[in-house]
């Protein structure tokens, strides 16, 4: 079982390298920018796939968690505490490296929160909010769950849009680069484009490995049992409330991480990232990917996000996603990739299992 999970992961890494070489050879290196952004969006949708496809809980508010991550990081890293330098707390934080001095576009000096510290705060905040929201929300089912998560998303959107500190309709810009190792940073700097592309996809690969492990573990089985028959899962000793909550929090954290890095990559974030249409778009991608298929979701995420970011859908961008939702749910509620792929994987798994059963 373990080796069979390695092969698709290796294939993913191979495809990532291949695409980079192709863009290099084809002189289309600028494609990497959209592919990097797609990678971050993919991080959100594979988390959402776990929540919707495996635990069976819809969320129409995941853009909210992306925004919590992105905006927290943006606010903290663009904050200027230089005027409070003498304040003992600020001085202590600066000494500890939590605060960092840098120069703004015009050469003025700023004292703001270090991106790493901001990232930790952002992810923790998403974690805590997902916990607080998740406890009551996940008690709901069906329409009520959909409306409650939609409501959560709308609240985040109207807060972001209505608050001056978050830049209101303009959002926050001039977010500094996010330093990684060896002078490499997550930023829109075109000389770092290739490295950023690899970093983003490495992140997706790691998340993919973790989630693939999870779904084939005891937890994954418990989540699917909740999806299949929640009361029976409870009767089998599955703490359904806790498992749903943990899944919700895990997917919220993935969305927040994506928000943090994409915000540093783009150098800013705007309120549209928190909009309901974004949340619906993530749901659409999970639906097309086959609801319960991480690979299907990943593939559709890259395809759709790339096309959308390159502007191929023109002014029909939202309409395309709306149309996709309807068509998929009408004709192929199990997704277009999902059904076939899963049947194939199922066959292989069965074959392997039979062999291993025989050998026992």
């Amino acid at each position: 079982m373990r080796t069979s999970r390695f092969i698709p992961i290796l294939a993913l890494l191979g495809a990532v390298v291949l695409v980079q070489l192709l863009t290099l050879a084809g002189g289309k290196a600028f494609f990497l920018t959209q592919l990097t952004m797609s990678a971050y969006y993919t991080l959100i949708v594979i988390g959402l796939c776990l929540l919707m496809g495996f635990a069976g809980q819809i969320s129409l508010g995941h853009a909210g968690f992306f925004a919590i991550g992105g905006y927290t990081s943006a606010v903290l890293t663009t904050l200027d505490l230089a005027a409070y330098k003498e304040n003992p707390l600020v001085a202590m934080l600066a000494k500890a490296g939590v605060l960092t001095a840098r120069q703004d576009l015009y050469g003025g000096s700023l004292l703001s929160v270090h991106p790493w510290a901001a990232c930790v705060v952002a992810v923790l905040l998403a974690f805590v909010i997902a916990w607080a929201i998740g406890i009551p929300v996940l008690k709901l089912k069906g329409h009520y769950l959909a409306m409650a998560t939609l409501g959560f998303g709308t609240i985040i959107y109207s807060i972001v849009l209505g608050t001056q500190r978050f830049g209101a309709a303009d959002g926050i810009s001039s977010v500094p680069p996010f330093p990684l190792l060896f002078g490499v940073s997550v930023s829109g700097d075109s000389s770092l484009r290739v490295l950023n592309y690899y970093f983003a996809w490495l992140l997706v690969t790691v998340a993919m490995v973790l989630l693939l492990n999870l779904i084939s573990s005891r937890v994954g089985r418990a989540l699917r049992s909740i999806h299949g028959a929640e009361d029976a899962a409870g009767a089998m000793g599955v703490d359904t409330a806790r498992f749903k909550l943990s899944t919700f929090m895990l997917s919220a954290v993935l969305a927040a991480v994506a928000g943090v890095f994409l915000t540093h990559y783009n150098g800013g974030i705007g309120p549209s990232e928190a909009s309901i249409m974004k949340s619906v778009r993530y749901v659409a991608i999970v639906a097309v990917g086959g609801m319960g298929s991480l690979w299907g979701t990943l593939i559709m995420s890259v395809v759709l996000n790339f096309l959308s970011l390159r502007g191929y859908f023109g002014s029909f961008d939202d309409a395309v996603f709306g149309g996709i939702l309807i068509v998929i749910m009408l004709f192929a509620p199990d997704g277009i990739i999902g059904a076939d792929l899963r049947r194939l994987v199922g066959k292989i798994a069965n074959y392997k299992q039979q062999n291993s059963n025989k050998s026992q």
Binding site: R2, R221, A232, G234, M236, G237, G292, Q353
Partner: protein, 254 residues
């Protein structure tokens, strides 16, 4: 020694008194049956025992500890497992996976361990799989391991559900009409199976309509009528109880 003790338990739904002041106990290692006409409160009683409903009053004591305020998963974790009258298998999962979920209470890999796939977690997975397969072997359904659970025949689904309930090594098993929808031969098989389960040391409490099955395997029979206990005795004594005869002859339900 009483494994399960029910003390003066009552449950009311609006104007309907579904269970009224019922007390009884189940001896460790015995098979006890709950019978009664339709609407006697048998399923309500089961839902109270397994934590799906909260009693209005009264107490349920299992292994010396009160469980009537606990949720279904906590009760299952204490080793009290159940099946459902209307089979509730997990859709989109194989028969084997269904049974493996039953092992949930006897394993511990959580989110972190699952994501990291640590050596001990895959050893645990292996153990869960082997245990599930051996139970399916015991019930004669090991051939169905890889079939989609909800595509199986009715009798096979019952067997999968039973295997799932047994997979957590429960000390006590609640069976809600295990012979419903089965033909005579399958019913006889089920009766033998329940005796074998008891012989494994598992205490069984069973709700059943099939009188021959109940009389054949039970050590004790509890009779409910309109939510009230009218008899609680050995099968032979219950058969001779005039109150029980009246309740049952009044309806052609037996």
């Amino acid at each position: 020694m009483a494994l399960l003790e029910v003390k003066n338990i009552s449950k009311r739904f609006g104007g309907l008194q579904a269970v009224k002041d019922v007390s009884f106990s189940v001896r460790e290692g015995s098979i006890k049956a709950v019978i009664g006409p339709n609407g006697a409160g048998k399923t309500t009683l089961f839902n109270l025992l397994s934590g799906f409903l909260l009693p209005d009053s009264g107490a349920i004591v299992y292994k010396g500890r009160p469980i009537h305020a606990k949720s279904p998963h906590e009760i299952a974790q204490q080793g009290l497992s159940r099946t459902f009258q209307h089979i509730r298998l997990f859709a989109h999962m194989t028969a084997l996976e269904n049974v493996m979920v039953g092992r949930h209470v006897r394993s511990r890999a959580g989110f972190l361990a699952g994501m990291l796939n640590l050596p001990w977690t895959w050893r645990e997975e292996q153990e869960i799989r082997e245990r599930a397969l051996s139970l399916m072997e015991f019930l004669g359904i090991v051939d169905l391991a890889d079939a989609n659970a909800t595509s199986l025949s009715y009798g096979q689904q019952r067997a999968v559900e039973l295997a799932r309930a047994l997979a957590g090594d429960p000390a006590m098993l609640l069976l809600d009409e295990p012979a419903a929808g089965l033909n005579m031969r399958e019913t006889a098989d089920t009766a033998r199976l329940i005796s074998r389960i008891r012989d494994l040391g598992i205490t069984v409490l069973i709700v059943e309509h099939d009188m021959s099955l109940v009389m054949q395997i039970s050590d004790e029979v509890l009779v409910l009528s309109y939510g009230e206990k009218i008899a609680d005795d050995a099968p032979r004594a219950v058969q001779g109880n005039p109150e029980v005869v009246r309740v049952y002859l009044g309806e052609d339900d037996a």
